[in-house]
Symmetry: C2
Subunit: 325 residues, 2 copies
């Protein structure tokens, strides 16, 4: 019997990576192309298709391609489109699924990166048995994927799940979205750097982080400083966790999930982020929800997360198609 | 042919009201009992059952009872229980649906008042064609019912949809829930009174509202003062709308609904609340959601809303049962 696989594709500003993945999350083949090499979307889709076929050919086992899933910034699941993405070269609305279906007869589905991460967690990771959970992806920005009754929440527009752009501090830090005080300006790799900069101004205490030019400060350096007991770094994690906990508590009031998963860069700081976040969640949460929500690290390895997430989207789509039959 | 009806029951701290309602929202009969007269829940359920039968007997048409729906504070849909309600006399967990099923063979379902309001809007009101919307019920507190993919959002615990207890101002106004800065301390009939009190302290301008003892100030007086052009009342509505808009914008980022319905006391202030709320939502909303969400008054008449909402819960349950067949 042929082995059923899906192809997961993650479209980033620089590179597009793809992988052939079985239902257990084993990656049987991988490939990549440069995203920026193809300003014309038709050329891009053609190159993507060639790279997929090349990848599939190299797999020694007999395989059967079942579906393709794509994760892309501003990806709209309902329309199969990428809509005005801030970091991609194609402007306006790109009907990617439609263009892909010229080459593939299998279902092609698309969503944004954070929703793909939620699906990765549900299909291969720590949320296999869960019907209601949220994943916070803590990278340069903060993405979120919300699962309700076993389905990713897309909402009326297809763009639901923008927790990173909920306003936490009216008139607060400038955000890339053009507004102010969004969660991701506080809770993300760049957010914690901004918090350290604030603490430089506020505190008089010595910190090795003060020796680094502001432009070169990274969340990794802050984690390393925290591991050395640096008070500025520790306070920055505490403040980041405080804000993250406030968002988690508000998310729980909204949708009462079973778990919140933390994924990506900042969540790798381990106890420096998890311990204060749990402490503040316990302090802040409404009594009716006390003890009802777990805060967990994602079980999806970060280096494969993009491919696994988008391939999970494809598996999930096949489940839906089968349920409708 | 007998006319199919459901019975809607709303359990309040003082009275329990009930009505027999057809699928179009016509109320064919009504009755009520005192809630406080029955400290023993078994006596209460017995009296409730008698009142229902008495009501049904008086209906001249031939009817067929299909299901019963109950709206109650801290009502848990999953378990059919009322759990530690702050304003009811029964403490702990009351298995109301189970107790009712001793008297009725028809399905008996239960949820909280705001979720019932959402169902009323969906079955009889302005959300008949909508799959994704939120209702804010602006009474003494602020309740919310969230509908996603045509289903009320109950979450993992059954208690999802507590937008009134999202934290808007860390360390802000004391809330009845024991925490601080919850939305309902700003956006509700009591919230706008507190805002007027703040403005008394902040502004020097004359206002007839200053003649009213603080304990006797009501949101109705503030609405009437606004209609007379009173600057304190107008500023209080503006501030209330500003905070409401912030919550709406954050709700849109979370679940991207097609509409937000405003229901109850404060929403009766009409343009004084709707116009500034729309203005602030337009100012604050993330560009990706601009123009995607309508802010609408509930179409359910307030005096019948409790009965209609809980009867709608029963109709919705019948839809689910039929879909599962």
């Amino acid at each position: 019997m042929k082995k059923a696989i899906t192809v997961g594709i993650d479209i980033g500003g620089t590179n597009s990576v793809m992988g052939a993945v079985d239902r257990d999350g084993n990656i049987l083949g991988e490939n990549r192309i440069s995203t920026t090499d193809y300003p014309d979307i038709h050329d891009y889709v053609s190159a993507l298709q060639e790279a997929i076929l090349e990848m599939l050919k190299k797999i020694p086992e007999e395989i059967e391609l079942k579906a393709l899933g794509i994760g892309a910034p501003n990806g709209n699941y309902y329309h199969g489109t990428i809509e005005s993405p801030p970091n991609l070269i194609w402007e306006g609305v790109t009907p990617l699924c439609k263009l892909m279906s010229k080459y593939f007869t299998e279902p092609v589905v698309l969503t944004n990166d954070a929703n793909a991460a939620a699906l990765g967690e549900m299909i291969y990771g720590g949320a296999k048995q869960m019907k209601n959970f949220i994943i916070y992806t803590l990278g340069t920005g903060l993405g979120s994927g919300i699962v309700i009754n076993g389905e990713v929440l897309y909402g009326h527009t297809g763009f639901a799940g923008e927790i990173g752009h909920t306003t936490m501090v009216p008139g607060g830090r400038d955000c890339g979205c053009g507004r102010q005080g969004c969660l991701e300006t506080y809770v993300s790799a760049t957010g914690i750097v901004r918090t350290v900069e604030e603490l430089f101004a506020k505190r008089r205490v010595h910190s090795p982080l003060r020796d680094v030019p502001s432009d070169q400060l990274t969340s990794k350096m802050i984690t390393e400083a925290a591991q050395q007991g640096d008070p500025i770094a520790l306070e920055a994690f505490d403040k980041t966790a405080d804000m993250l906990a406030l968002s988690i508590v508000n998310s729980v009031a909204f949708s009462s999930p079973e778990a919140i998963f933390l994924f990506g860069g900042l969540s790798n700081a381990g106890k420096y982020i998890f311990e204060p976040t749990e402490k503040y969640v316990n302090e802040k949460i409404q009594s009716i929800f006390k003890g009802t929500v777990k805060i967990l690290p994602s079980l999806i390895p970060e280096n494969n997360a993009a491919i696994l997430g988008s391939s999970a989207l494809a598996w999930k789509e096949l489940e839906k198609i089968n349920a409708d039959k």
